[in-house]
Symmetry: C2
Subunit: 320 residues, 2 copies
């Protein structure tokens, strides 16, 4: 069996996979990120122990461990350089630490890549060799599988797919650039664009939401879009059109067979998926046929633990 | 030794490399593309024979052959699906044909990827594992090396880097899309944007060029830019800024260590390179340091024959 550890700013999730990539057991506990790396490491080990003992297992049956964490990081060394959601993690060699504590071969991957790998081996990416993966949440994260392997790039910074500039000198992005796709099409940006428009006086059924709840969420936007509100339609179309354009550009770069969208925003459902596909078709090279499947992720919140455990299995098989 | 064959619409170039990737002999002949595949294949074999006999060699010392041709193509099968510059090539299994004629292991690659591989192993890409490559000519072609291998993508259509959309609903591109980087920053588009502006009445020293020569070339634009002409400056800045933005986006996707520009337009020299670097720095994520080297190719017109021969060597070593 293989353990997958998904270290997030809020929760530590641990899963146990068999060699067929079936998720047998899983558990989740609060990270206590603000208490610093030592406490978080203890918490990880405690969560692993809890998962094993609750299910009558011991470490003896574990062949390898996969660990995912937010970045930027040095992937091969398994060092978290810094992470906004893990504030005291500065150059923490988390892979080595966990390897020493659990005494099992341990591989490290950044969280978005780990979730991408999970979908690739056991979710919406099954059966393809070339895939791109997006998480649509507060920001936009990504992962790229090319010819069956994750792309890391020279500085382990590849697949920062939310920070492709699609509008030169456009909306400011949290990263400091202008016009990033994240500044238009993340759940956060979708909510923000709607809020700005309502506050600027646009007529919309969303106005009531803002008054009642003090905020407009991305979910509100897609709900009111489905109900036919004109502003919500404009905002949601802006989001899906930016994502469709992104698909066009990425098809011309690494040539994926399938693009998989994940994250909270996909709760918007078929209406979002259909519009992304529509805008993709509107923008793509019309002079030749380019097959591309655009779909939603299927593993939900388990993608990270499945992906990290599967990476541990991948490494194990590589070393056989 | 290894033979590299660079089949273009105008010329067939053949080169002979030793196992240290030194280009020992080369030769070039007219393709006679309009006479169809049979004649072109004969011409290729004749050119190979000529290279060998002129230098007192025989096929015995050739361990493998690399063949590059314009696409779209099926890379592994070595089939040219169609090629604007080779008008009668429709689903021609050129790799198999050349393999049978020359009786040597033969690998196939599309021309831009082959030139990319040439620069990677023996030119401006030496010493890196992650590189992107652009040819700036009439259009913009590209190649991507990730972790030491070319990226082909699912349909062998990866690295169509000129067709990234940088301006939504922007200038029409020959591919049928709108707002492609090729529609702004190729040599062809640079000349065209300048011509359009002059014809629309813009004041410029380029006006005389248009009158005298009946056209404005990309070379003219960069020449008049260097001399301080205002319109030429605006056009050239538009070109280099689109290329700088492209570098930003690609850094966030496959994370190259080095981006190499090739093709006729790099004759514009340091002024172009400096401006691309400038616009890259203007647009890049300012919140973290991201090292990226931007430079010009060094192999000129030999990149294709060096790249194809080097791919034959790469395949030979893989099979050892």
């Amino acid at each position: 069996m293989f353990l997958g550890i998904d270290l997030g700013g809020t929760n530590i999730k641990v899963g146990c996979l068999d060699s067929q990539l079936a998720l047998i057991y899983k558990i989740s506990q609060a990270t206590n990120a603000d208490m610093g790396p030592d406490v978080v490491v203890d918490k990880i080990c405690e969560t692993v122990d809890m998962l094993l003992s609750e299910n009558g297992l011991t470490m003896d049956i574990i062949e390898g461990v996969g660990l995912g964490a937010p970045g930027p990081a040095k992937i091969e060394e398994g060092i978290v350089i810094s992470a906004p959601n893990l504030p005291q993690f500065k150059n923490i060699p988390i892979r080595r630490i966990i390897h020493e504590r659990l005494a099992k071969p341990t591989v490290f991957e950044n969280d978005a890549n780990a979730a991408c790998w999970g979908e690739y081996v056991a979710g919406a990416g099954k059966g393809v060799r070339d895939m791109m993966f997006f998480t649509l949440g507060t920001g936009i994260g990504g992962g790229i599988i090319s010819n069956g392997e994750l792309i890391h790039g020279f500085s382990d910074n590849a697949a920062e797919l939310g920070h492709m500039i699609i509008h030169r000198d456009g909306r400011p992005c949290a990263c400091g650039q202008q016009g990033c796709v994240e500044a238009y099409a993340s759940a956060g940006a979708t909510a923000k664009r709607a809020t700005e428009a309502v506050e600027a006086g646009a007529k919309s059924s969303l106005k009531k939401k803002l008054k009642e709840n003090g905020e407009i969420t991305c979910k509100d936007v897609f709900g009111h879009y489905a109900a036919g509100d004109r502003l919500a339609t404009k905002i949601a179309e802006g989001t899906s059109s930016a994502l469709g354009l992104l698909c066009v550009n990425l098809l011309h770069i690494t040539g994926p067979q399938r693009i998989v969208f994940a994250g909270g925003m996909i709760a918007a459902g078929d209406i979002l998926l259909e519009r992304i596909r529509h805008h993709f078709r509107q923008h793509i090279w019309p002079l030749k046929e380019e097959p591309l499947e655009i779909c939603f992720a299927t593993l939900g919140g388990d993608a990270g633990i499945i992906g990290t455990a599967a990476l541990a299995l991948h490494e194990y098989e590589r070393n056989l």
